[in-house]
Symmetry: C2
């Protein structure tokens, strides 16, 4: 029995360019027609593998692949599921049963820190079993927190979207300055790391009078008094103040800046960090306030992709196919920065086992000494990653994201009851 | 004394294309060099006129005008100020003193319903005084609620931004479908009218399975039970549900869907309609929820302009100069729809007095019979307005919105102490 099927799966939160990686994997695998038979994709991540819910990508013609490579979200679906460590091996047994049933010799797993842990463990299990499977990781996350790679595909486009949003909203609020002072707060993703918040600093271009005037990141404990003093100083000088807040900022005691109160009907009310910070400013300083929460929009904004990010997303997909076919299971393509200006980069394999479940936070040199902004070094690091535009084809004024025909692979195993 | 100065001012909330109107006014006025002397802009709207805070646009060269025409927000600043009716004429006296001091013969006032009231009253006052001033309105508002014009410059770009955002966020949430069901709520601008909420329906393209599955507008009283039943039905069918909520939706008793509760420290907590609706779904149906509030981003998103909107914004600016110089004070250029597909339109003068302070709401035929969505007719109306893209020049991956040199006109009058 030859294991000539290649399986692609992704996991966790999606990005604006995760489908670009998927398309690159499919194209690269097809170029190995002598060695690679079928190219399958798991429906909804590793859960789809367990349920034996697999999609045959042969139905994707060149037109569909081109469209896939520029459509945001995960066309094959994703899931939030960690491989258990304490189930007596039932999940691993099932995974390998599916690999055997469909002659899967290569598994490309596209995800973040947790997914790299899965890659390392599945590869170790294959070795233990003497199974031919080569499992290779493919990095992606808007959080930019995978260790061992200069940056993560997905981050650059989200960073470009947020920096542009802060630039544009900053021009809007600057137009509306009134006598009373006003603040604008934008809450961005980042539970543990401030990479996306830091990206908004690009909008200011180093000018202390331009938005954002304050950037709050989870790496620094929230100091309410220092923060309010700065908001007041900026507003007294300019008439307004624009603030970026990571969703995950915490006080020195570790508590999240997030309201939990009960409304008159007794429902628990969960406010995010952005609304809480805006409300705090209003109640303590009396300024008018607006807040924005881009939420999914920031990681799905493919109408305004970073061309650099898209190129890197495809490059890691192609490289992962190469590593898998070279028998380099357990590895992941990492992006290496060769030069800042002009930006030069390449892709090189690293082992997933040492980086699994680690989390890269903003280094100290990227955070301003007062903890209320990021440094020029942070901007210099992020700037190349948002460079370049990609013109989305449109239909009737909207990006052309028409859907895809998904052809299911026949199931060969009993239902999974995990 | 010749009144050969043209003054441009805008008022109220800004848009992604209000500066396109301003640039078109300046260019068109310069083309009348024989008749028009200086072209001034009020700093921060009508308040700038009262404070005699005026900007000489002669400092804008061709490069600056090109950039102005594609920069979001109001470069000259705006204000929220209504002409008082009960101040014994002090404000009118001051306005005409400024018009006299700077030989202002033409005032172009760019705004919404309230601004058109000001246009009609200032023109009536000029007639009463036998003053040569010709005051002409120029429509703008993302709310699309000015009566007498087919649409309002600023709306098309905000509509395109929001429809694209719902399309993209819809693909994201569709990727993340889990066993428990999840909802995504996007709160859009519109205190009294549902035009912007309706625009998001373009993302679905008439497909009931695509986001948004529900659109709540202020024109329909919020029926909690009917709404929750629909959310449940959609989520049971698809695994998720995407909802657009106008910020101004109200219950049948007229109360806003907006939480006012107190947090543990006693602060009043103001939740918007979006978060309240999301929380309601969670507490009643148990689904996971996300919500987005694009806030200023939706009206400042010039990185993704509607080319049609931009063209109309410039056309009304040019037409207003023409009407003013033709002595058609008290008028406003209105956009007339000549044909739907392909979209054809022109600009024609209408009187501001009859439309001042009116508000155009969604007609009944644009709202679905069950009040939970908008109709195909609504989509057919909005679609042409979002068509066409405009490629923003970029610097280092961000739109090139470098600022402008603002040259102040010397003050000739005593300070205004209104």
């Amino acid at each position: 029995m030859t294991y000539d099927t290649l399986l692609y799966a992704h996991s966790g939160g999606v990005t604006a360019v995760i489908n670009a990686t998927a398309a690159a994997v499919i194209v690269a695998a097809r170029e190995q027609r002598g060695r690679v038979g079928r190219v399958l994709a798991a429906h909804r991540g590793i859960g789809g593998v367990l349920r034996e819910d697999l999609i045959d990508t042969a139905a994707f013609d060149a037109v569909a692949l081109e469209r896939l490579a520029r459509t945001p979200g995960g066309a094959f679906g994703s899931c939030r599921f960690d491989l258990p460590r304490d189930d007596g091996g039932a999940v691993m047994d099932r995974l390998f049963a599916v690999f055997d049933a469909h002659r899967i010799g290569w598994l490309l797993y596209n995800g973040g820190n947790g997914s790299m842990d899965a890659v390392a463990r599945i590869q170790a299990e294959a070795c233990r079993r003497g199974h031919p499977l080569q499992c290779v990781g493919v990095p992606k996350t808007v959080d930019n927190d995978i260790v061992g790679t200069d940056c993560c595909p997905g981050f650059g486009s989200a960073a470009k979207y947020l920096a542009t949003s802060m630039l544009e909203a900053g021009l809007d609020i600057a137009s509306m300055v009134g006598a009373k002072g006003s603040v604008f707060v934008m809450e961005v993703m980042g539970r543990n790391t401030g990479w996306l918040a830091a990206a908004t600093a690009l909008a200011a271009g180093g000018d202390p009078d331009r938005a954002p005037h304050i950037v709050l990141v989870p790496e620094v404990a929230f100091d309410e008094d220092a923060f309010l003093a700065r908001v007041q100083a900026v507003t007294q000088r300019l008439g307004y103040c624009a603030v970026t807040v990571s969703e995950g900022i915490r006080r020195a005691d570790g508590s999240l800046i997030q309201e939990k109160s009960r409304d008159p009907r007794g429902y628990v009310q969960l406010g995010g960090a952005g609304s809480e910070v805006a409300r705090l400013i209003n109640s303590r300083l009396g300024y008018k306030f607006h807040w924005a929460i881009p939420d999914y929009m920031q990681r799905a904004g493919a109408h305004w992709l970073s061309a650099t990010d898209r190129e890197q997303a495809m490059a890691v997909g192609r490289a992962a196919v190469e590593y898998a076919l070279d028998g380099h299971g357990g590895s992941m393509p990492a992006i290496r920065r060769l030069q800042d200006l002009p930006y030069r980069w390449d892709v090189t394999p690293i082992e997933t086992a040492p980086i699994a479940n680690l989390e890269r936070r903003l280094p100290n040199r990227f955070v301003a000494a007062d903890g209320l902004h990021v440094t020029q070094m942070a901007c210099d690091y992020i700037r190349p990653l948002i460079m370049g535009e990609f013109a989305q084809p449109t239909v009737d004024g909207l990006p052309d994201y028409r859907g895809f025909e998904m052809v299911r692979v026949n199931r060969l195993l009993p239902n999974w009851v995990g």
